[in-house]
């Protein structure tokens, strides 16, 4: 079943890649992939383990800047830089998570928010290394041996291959001892502990996992656009990742894809509204949350199932009204 799903997914990527000739569309799809990675990571933390992070842009930025600085300024191979970025992010996420995940609910939100701001300010102010507000230029394009990944199409394939890999990773984690324990923590932390789950250890683990996903997304982003500036990693980006998870559907791997797609595409579609763009954007998100509070995935599935039962048994569905 899951093999088929992955095969289908792979086929969709290949067909999309072959059919797309417009470089703008390709780039848009590549951004959807990067945002999907961000949402996927945060969904593991928020959707499954029930721990909020309002500072995930920090890890996104950490991944992007570590790789950018090492490869652009210090001429490291980008892949070595990626490795360094992942190691650094793991370390930082671990150190942050140790005290932070003792908090819960609003307080955890505040704590992670503060962390996000610290990293943002650090990136802006440490201009000798990061270039400060004017950003960092000349981030090299990626290549796999002789194979250059500079073209839009090659990069599209790379990003979506990584997305597919992360999908598999998430599915495997969710459907395991660890995944069950994470969901148990979400449903009731003290009960989870009473079942023998080391809740703080697992929470730190899933926090690090989601941070590494964000760093990976940051790496892919930096080497795609070749120029990064602090504004790509500010507070609003953190909020947007949270929105992707919530709109797409908490605790749903495919929901991350849906949420990331919608939030990437919506601003592009809404350009026609010019000045009112943000108003319409906000209204659409509000409407989704009001009518599909469980997110798009669950909401659309429910709608589909409702419509099926109505078509199948029109008589029974009218019965309650008749009785009244």
């Amino acid at each position: 079943m899951s093999k088929m799903k992955h095969g289908f997914f792979l086929l969709t990527i290949v067909i999309a890649g072959m059919a797309m000739s417009n470089s703008y569309h390709l780039q848009l799809l590549t951004f959807i992939g990067i945002n999907t990675l961000l949402a996927l990571g945060l969904n593991m933390l928020m959707g499954y383990a029930g721990q909020i992070s309002l500072g995930h842009a920090a890890f996104y930025g950490l991944g992007a800047y570590t790789s950018a600085v090492l490869s652009a300024t210090m001429n490291w191979s980008p892949w070595l830089a990626l490795f360094a970025a992942i190691v650094l992010t793991t370390l930082v996420a671990f150190l942050v998570a140790l005290p932070m995940l003792k908090l819960s609910g609003y307080y955890l939100g505040m704590g992670t928010l503060g962390f996000g701001m610290i990293v943002f300010i650090l990136i802006r102010q440490w201009s000798t290394v990061t270039g400060g507000d004017s950003g960092l230029v000349g981030i090299p394009a990626l290549s796999l041996g002789p194979l250059s990944l500079a073209s839009g199409k090659a990069y599209f394939y790379l990003v979506w291959a990584v997305v597919l890999m992360c999908f598999v990773i998430c599915e495997r984690v969710v459907d395991s001892r660890v995944g069950r324990a994470l969901r148990a923590i979400h449903d009731g932390e003290h009960v989870a502990a009473a079942m023998g789950i080391d809740t703080s250890r697992l929470k730190v683990g899933v926090f690090v996992l989601s941070a590494v996903f964000a760093a990976l997304a940051g790496f892919l982003y930096a080497h795609l656009v070749s120029f990064i500036s602090p504004n790509s990693f500010d507070f609003l980006v953190s909020v947007r990742i949270v929105t992707m998870v919530v709109i797409g559907g908490m605790a749903s791997i495919w929901g991350s894809l849906l949420g990331a797609s919608l939030l990437t595409l919506l601003p592009e579609w809404l350009h026609v509204f010019t000045d009112y763009e943000m108003v319409v954007y906000g209204l659409i998100l509000m409407t989704i949350m009001i009518f599909l509070p469980q997110g798009l995935t669950r909401g659309l599935l429910d709608l589909y199932e409702q419509s099926r039962t109505i078509y199948r048994r029109p008589a029974t569905s009218q019965e309650p009204t008749a009785n009244r």
């Binding site: 990773i169 495997r172 984690v173 001892r177 995944g179 069950r180 009473a194 079942m195 789950i197 080391d198």
Partner: protein, 270 residues
């Protein structure tokens, strides 16, 4: 079962609660409580509301740290240990208000109970090497057996929140058994059950004891408690009021006073 074991006096107790005290603010919830639980027995803790029964459970399971005294389990002091460490040592519990993982299926709930006897971490989950797959398969077999034991195997793939309340109780017991405890603490297992279900519960608890598991239960249903318990401890206002066999407790004047007595009698006792 253990006929080979030489019978020399009383067997080594599985759990020893030694002059345990715990207070919240100015209120002394437990004061100098001492008793012992022999292995493979059913031991009940009874007492009026507010007697400190649930606090006692929380102290034994590590949710609270006692201010005085020791909890000795299998000759090791366990007070002050973390909740999940206590479970790993072999003490499992159920809750007064059934606390299942509502978003998960019946089978998954029992599998969570198996967590503490499994080893797979994040890397194992991602890698799914043979060892992890074997462990997972064994856990599932174990969980199915327990579901059959409590009679819920037909509901395995339903969401646990969708079960009727009585079945949720049984599921909670199965989940606790999945941790392979030697001591199982049950906090008011019969509350909210009808007469038939209470009867089934009594049978189930006796079967659990015959599996070699020691039971410590807090219970208000006196028919059930007197019917299945080997020994009973009575708590009253955080103190041990009496201890003995069900028959002894039924005849104990102090106990009768505590349950039925007027305010004056109560003051006389404390």
């Amino acid at each position: 079962m253990n006929s080979s074991e030489p019978i020399t006096g009383t067997p080594q107790p599985l759990l020893r609660v030694k002059s345990v005290g715990k207070s919240f603010g100015g209120i002394q919830a437990l004061c100098n409580v001492t008793f012992e639980v022999a292995p493979e027995t059913i031991h009940a803790v009874i007492g009026p509301n507010g007697a400190g029964k649930t606090t006692l459970f929380n102290v034994i399971t590590g949710a609270y740290e006692p201010e005085d005294g020791q909890i000795v389990y299998e000759n090791r002091e366990i007070q002050g240990k973390k909740v999940h460490e206590v479970v790993a040592q072999g003490i499992a519990r159920t809750f007064q208000n059934v606390e299942l993982f509502g978003s998960m299926t019946v089978l998954e709930n029992v599998l969570v109970g198996r967590h503490v006897r499994m080893h797979c971490g994040f890397l194992g989950a991602i890698g799914r090497w043979p060892r992890v797959r074997n462990e997972e398969r064994e856990a599932r077999d174990y969980a199915w057996e327990l579901l059959e034991f409590v009679g819920l195997e037909k509901m395995a793939h339903h969401r646990s929140a969708d079960l009727p309340f009585g079945w949720q109780r049984f599921l909670e017991i199965a989940r606790a058994l999945a941790t392979q405890p030697r001591l199982l603490l049950l906090d008011e297992p019969a509350s909210g059950l009808n007469a038939v279900e209470t009867q089934q519960l009594g049978d189930l608890l006796l079967q659990i004891r015959s599996r070699g598991i020691t039971l410590l239960l807090v219970e208000h249903d006196m028919d059930l408690t007197m019917g299945i318990s080997d020994r009973i401890v009575v708590l009253h206002q955080g103190r041990r009021l009496a201890e003995g066999t069900p028959r002894e407790i039924q005849c104990n004047d102090a106990v009768i006073c505590a349950y039925l007595g007027s305010d004056e009698d109560m003051r006389g006792l404390s």
